[in-house]
Amino acid sequence: MKEIQFDTIRDKVAQTCIEANCLLGDDVVQAFKDGLKVEESPAGKDILNQLLDNEQIARKEMMPICQDTGWAVVWLKVGSGVRVQGGELYDAIQQGVAKGYKDGYLRKSIVEDPLRRKNTGTNTPAIIYTDIVPGDVLEITVQPKGGGSENMSEVKMLSASDGAEGIQKFVVDRVARSKANPCPPVIVGVGIGGTFEKCAMLAKHSLLRKIGSTHPDPFYAAMEKELLDRVNKLGIGPQGLGGRVTALAVFIEAFPCHIATMPCAVNINCHAARHQSITL
């Protein structure tokens, strides 16, 4: 049994919210640099250079990369041997998010009701997904998710007869219809299988992968590569001004499926692909 203090979790979550929003991952920065090598459009190159400058300013001044500091989506892996001392785990996460968004001068973007739309003022509630795993470690991943790219996301219930091509057509079409809106170059998260809601979570979770990483299943690794190629033929380019680099990556997560179904979810992430993990 491992005991972790409530205050430690709260403070670490707060710090992780700030760092996730101000420090872009090395993999994303490298993807901008790689994009510069293949981008043919002068406007597209100019934008990629601005994104590199922006990353440097944000890092140096600890300013948010984007003013939309997102929904705080928090993924927990809770070891079955972990016990929280001094309070409840979920309270520690929620308080940590509120503290991080306040102390880090991050934008509070959450309204308390979808129709009445009064800002909660704390950026809470956070969205928390929990896995109970063996062991005595608590792993916390904070994934600030912007609203503009979230709006370009979709779930579709396909049939088995639609096959891999049906999935690919849906994914490519979803990016095509998004045009300039989700702040391209985007990262395309794809969930396939599971139930209606499970496949949406798979798509969201896939966005935590490092750009440049290869899918462990060669079948899906090949599909990711083909999808990225098809998406980048759309010509949307950085910020939708036309160009070669529409997406930096396509990530797929697949899951067992009911004999009657083949759901597919596309969750688009803007180029500010932010996430950070800590282990306690």
Binding site: Q50, A58, P64, D68, R107, A180, N181, L241, C270
Partner: protein, 183 residues
């Protein structure tokens, strides 16, 4: 070479702009996003006075992050524009001449731009720390209860943007994508 322009915009300035032009905007602009647009149009419909003069005005679709101590503003990049499309034609009818955001507009907005002589600029979405450097003053002038969605008056110097839609029907998104699309 970027064109230097001053906000509020004159009719002449708008006439000179074409889709694809890079501009550096200096002067006074106003922030407004979803809820502020709803309140502004509700006020117009009720015959009430607006918190700023719409004549020649430029609205920047942004909800900035909070300013750190000693700073004018936090990060301040554009939000996606189409959510304002339901409100923009009425604002143009009442004098609005410029909109800054990101992403594609719908036909009623493009039609109103032609009819009233207005222009739609894009700023680089997600370059929010970089853009903040061109904002020299910021103050909330209305709807403070909306937090990040409050209307702010911004003084900007050489704010970088690109003309997406001009008043003649030019559309940089369409032109740009057509050039690079592969079948």
């Amino acid at each position: 070479m970027a064109k230097k322009i001053t906000a509020p915009l004159t009719a002449e300035t708008v006439k000179d702009l074409r889709a694809g032009d890079s501009v550096l905007i200096s002067g006074t602009i106003y922030t407004g996003r979803d809820l502020a647009h709803k309140r502004l149009t509700d006020s117009l419909k009720a015959g009430e006075k607006l918190p700023f003069d719409l004549a020649g005005a430029v609205i920047y679709y942004v909800g900035p992050s909070p300013a750190k101590p000693g700073k004018v503003i936090g990060s301040a990049g554009p939000t996606t524009s189409y959510r304002m499309d339901a409100y923009s034609p009425l604002l143009m009818e009442k004098g609005l001449r410029g909109m800054i955001g990101k992403g594609n507009r719908t036909q009623p907005v493009l039609d109103a731009m032609k009819q009233h002589g207005a222009v739609y600029f894009a700023a680089v979405g997600g370059a929010a720390a970089l853009i903040a450097r061109t904002i020299k003053e910021a103050k909330v002038i209305a709807y403070e209860d909306l937090g990040p969605e409050a209307v702010r008056e911004l003084k900007v110097e050489d704010f970088p943007a690109i003309v997406i839609n001009d008043m003649y029907g030019g559309d940089l998104y369409e032109q740009g994508v057509a050039k690079y699309k592969k079948d």
